[in-house]
Symmetry: C2
Subunit: 219 residues, 2 copies
C-alpha cells in the first residue's frame, strides 16, 4: 500500500511537472530549482544573483517556505517579481503548487524563473517541478559529510553551489574532499565555490546561468 500510494503521489506530481515544463519550454524560460538545508544561503545567493543579472534578464522568483513571506520580501527589494508559497508545515514544494501560482506571472516578460524550495536536504529532491535545472546549495559550515549522508539530493542535482567560502578559514571543510565525494556519487554534477556575502566565485555561477539560458532558447 505504501509503495502504491507513493507511486500515485509521484504520478500526479509528474503530470503537473510536465504541464509546467511545457509552459516553460514554449516561453523559452530558464527555470532553476534551488534546494538546500535551512540556512545554507539560498535567498542571499539569489538576491546577489538577481543584482548581477537584472540589467540583462527579466527575472521572476517563486519562494517556498513553511511560513512567513520574509524571503519573498527580500527578493522584491532587488526589483524582481516574487511570489511566496507557504506550505503550512509541508517539507517541500510540489509541481501542483508551482502550477497554481504560474498565472501570477506573464511569461512573455520573464527570461529566468528561480524557484527557491523549502530548506530541506531530503524531501525536495524527490519532486520534479518541471524545472530546466536542479541546483543544490551547500554551505561550508555544514561540514564535509553532507554529500555522502544526503545522497538523494546530490544524485539528483546537476550543480552544487558551495556557499559561504568567506568563512572557510573558521570552519572545518575540505573542498577537494567534497569534489571527490560528489564525483563518486554523481559524475554529472560539479561544484562552484562562492560567497554570496563577498561575491567571490559569482562570475563562474553567472556564466553558468547565461550558458543555461542560451541553451534553452529556441533555435
Amino acid at each position: 500500500l505504501k509503495v502504491e500510494l507513493r507511486t500515485d503521489v509521484l504520478t500526479n506530481n509528474n503530470l503537473s511537472a510536465d504541464f509546467n515544463r511545457d509552459l516553460f519550454t514554449k516561453t523559452n524560460t530558464l527555470v532553476v530549482n534551488l534546494m538546500s538545508s535551512p540556512g545554507a544561503g539560498k535567498t542571499t545567493t539569489l538576491c546577489e544573483t538577481i543584482r548581477r543579472l537584472s540589467s540583462e534578464f527579466k527575472i521572476a522568483v517563486i519562494e517556498g517556505d513553511l511560513a512567513t513571506s520574509q524571503d519573498a520580501d527580500r527578493i522584491r527589494e532587488t526589483g524582481a517579481q516574487a511570489v511566496q508559497i507557504n506550505t503550512h508545515g509541508g517539507c517541500h514544494l510540489d509541481a501542483r503548487m508551482i502550477a497554481s501560482v504560474l498565472p501570477e506571472f506573464d511569461f512573455s516578460e520573464v527570461d529566468i524563473l528561480f524557484i527557491e524550495n523549502v530548506g530541506n536536504l531530503v524531501c525536495p529532491s524527490g519532486y520534479d517541478l518541471g524545472q530546466t535545472h536542479k541546483v543544490a546549495v551547500l554551505s561550508v559550515p555544514e561540514g564535509n559529510d553532507k554529500i555522502p549522508k544526503y545522497p538523494t539530493m546530490f544524485m539528483r542535482t546537476e550543480l552544487v553551489l558551495l556557499n559561504k567560502i568567506d568563512i572557510l578559514p573558521f570552519v572545518d571543510f575540505d573542498i577537494e574532499m567534497a569534489k571527490k565525494d560528489l564525483e563518486a556519487l554523481n559524475a554529472n554534477s560539479s561544484i562552484i565555490s562562492l560567497s554570496a556575502r563577498s561575491g567571490e566565485g559569482f562570475d563562474t555561477w553567472i556564466q553558468w546561468i547565461k550558458d543555461a539560458y542560451n541553451a534553452c532558447q529556441k533555435q
Copy 2:
C-alpha cells in the same frame, strides 16, 4: 483521504511511541531526541556532551541518517554504545524504527539515551519517538530567520541549543532577536548558547541534562 491517512500514520506512530516511553519510564532512562538542520552540529555536540558525562552516566546513542554509519562511528570513538538506523531516503525517524533497535541495548545498563534524528528542520518534529525531551539544535551560520520560518520545529521542542557561537563574529546572527522570536512562538522553550568546538556554554547544557535525569528517576 489525505487527512485520514496522515492520522493513521500518526496513530501507528503514537502506539509505538507509547511502547518506547513505557520501557524508558520503567528503566528510569532519560531519553533526549535531538533535531536540527543538516550540519548544525548535532553529532559534534553529542560527542562533547558524552565526554563530559561519561564518568558519571552510562550513555547510549541511536543515530538516524539516510545513509552511511559515519555518525555512529564518531559516537563509538567516545566509548558510548551507538546503533545506526539508515532510513534509505526517509526524512525522519519514527517510533517504530526506534522500537526495532531497542533490543540491541540493555536498559538496566543505560542512564541516558540520546537519539540523533535525521538532519531536517521540518519532518522529524511531527513524530513522537517516546522521548523524555525534544531538543532542537540551531547553528548561528544558519541565520536569524529560522525560528519564525520553521515554526513546527520550534513550537514542539523544549530547548534550543544555539551552536557554533565560536564563529558568531564572522556571521550575521543576533542572539537577542532569536530569544525574542522563540519567546513569541513558544514561551516554554529557551536557548542555551554554546560551541561544541570551543566548549563555551557546555556547563549550562550539562547541568540541564543532569536536572532532567534527576527529574525522571523514580522517587
